[in-house]
Symmetry: C2
Subunit: 271 residues, 2 copies
Amino acid sequence: MPFKEGDFLLIEHTAKVKETGKIFDTTREDVARSEGFHKEGEIYEPKLVVIGEGWVLKVLDDNLPSLSLNKPKTIEISPDKAFGPRDPEKLRMVSLRRLREKGITPKLGTQIEYDEKLATIRTMGAGRVQLDFNPPLAGKTLVYEVTAKKKLRTQEGKIHALIHRRIPLLEIGKFKLDLEKDDVVLRVPEEAFYIEGLQIAKRGITTDIQRFFPAIKKIEFVETYLAPKKEKAPKKTSTKKTKAKRTSTKKTPKKKPVAKKKPLSKAQNPK
Amino acid sequence: MPFKEGDFLLIEHTAKVKETGKIFDTTREDVARSEGFHKEGEIYEPKLVVIGEGWVLKVLDDNLPSLSLNKPKTIEISPDKAFGPRDPEKLRMVSLRRLREKGITPKLGTQIEYDEKLATIRTMGAGRVQLDFNPPLAGKTLVYEVTAKKKLRTQEGKIHALIHRRIPLLEIGKFKLDLEKDDVVLRVPEEAFYIEGLQIAKRGITTDIQRFFPAIKKIEFVETYLAPKKEKAPKKTSTKKTKAKRTSTKKTPKKKPVAKKKPLSKAQNPK
């Protein structure tokens, strides 16, 4: 086997429904575009998978060790190992009037939310609509084409990939790592300071590093702010002016600050 | 003058309307309780004011240098130096029906939002309601009783107070400071990791430190995660089990993680 459990692989994949040939998922931007489900803001690139971690469907995970670099492998997955069989009990007829009352205008083949569950509109006619509460891929045999693009070998490369998995919006490698034997310092780049969910991502990165590199006992995240270089120190005699200037030249994020800016009731909009 | 511009003071204050004697603002929990406007979760404690920074009404700011420690001073503020005169143009009659259409049931003396502005209900009768768009304290003479409780003298104490001002929910002094001549390392306590707005607060703390201590050229925030001590390193042969255990013993915050946890379409709810 070219690969083994615990290996860090970057994987490309494209998945389709066997019966129809319809592609429903891909890591490749060109495929997403040509199939018409490309989403702006979505990141298309090979994804990190650690073999045996259960990050992907089990059949896929089991097949990863036998991949060869850059050689696509086709893996067929029967419904019972994918999204389960299609359950006829999960079909339900409702009146068109009832849907309309809920503000839903049904359209054949589309998904709607009904009673807080997702349903697909299967048939329509004579004022009645058939809702299918099965997952859209239930009962389908899936065909994955999977390619291992790269095997990560260094601890540093693996940690970078783990960070990127938790903060996909940030280009890989933007954190600077100071790796020692039993600790690591992760220098957070300024452009990541205001990414939503940063603190949760840090927790996730920590969990990942502790899991895959148990020798690392201490993980430190460091965020550095340097004094703006060309500004003069504020003068005592012109406090207000200097303050205004300093504020206006700063790229202040729009979110509400935690602190009350004006204690002693100035916040109440005095003249 | 006991104090001067740039001094860091911890100030207690209680403010009332001169004409009625009604207290509308205080830093003291006992006063807030006895006046009936105590709010759960609000932090009642002396507040940091740096003299001359404009953090409080100008008349108050101008009076701060003449305070003496622990001696309350009464300061009267005329309407023009507080919330401005009351403007009769800002009174408006609307029909009760119109308010009802907007889902508002008016009650004498209460504040409502109307056309995205705050208004006080002044009179009601014969199907008509008078709305007052003046700030509630417009036209009022205010009487502040202000007490300087403490003057902060050390750079460390001042930085702690600036941090507390930006993250009032966190007890003062919880950050650990490594202060050098031209840089400071701020060690964020674990209990602050998931405080909402932490990143914005860091930016604010940075701005404050750069303003008041221009000699400090570099500010670093450090968040440290230590490996859990009593857990064994995960064994290769029982990956799943170990993982489950590690996860369950961890206090995971409830917010949605940034990363997709299940790439390769496992997120689509497979069986």
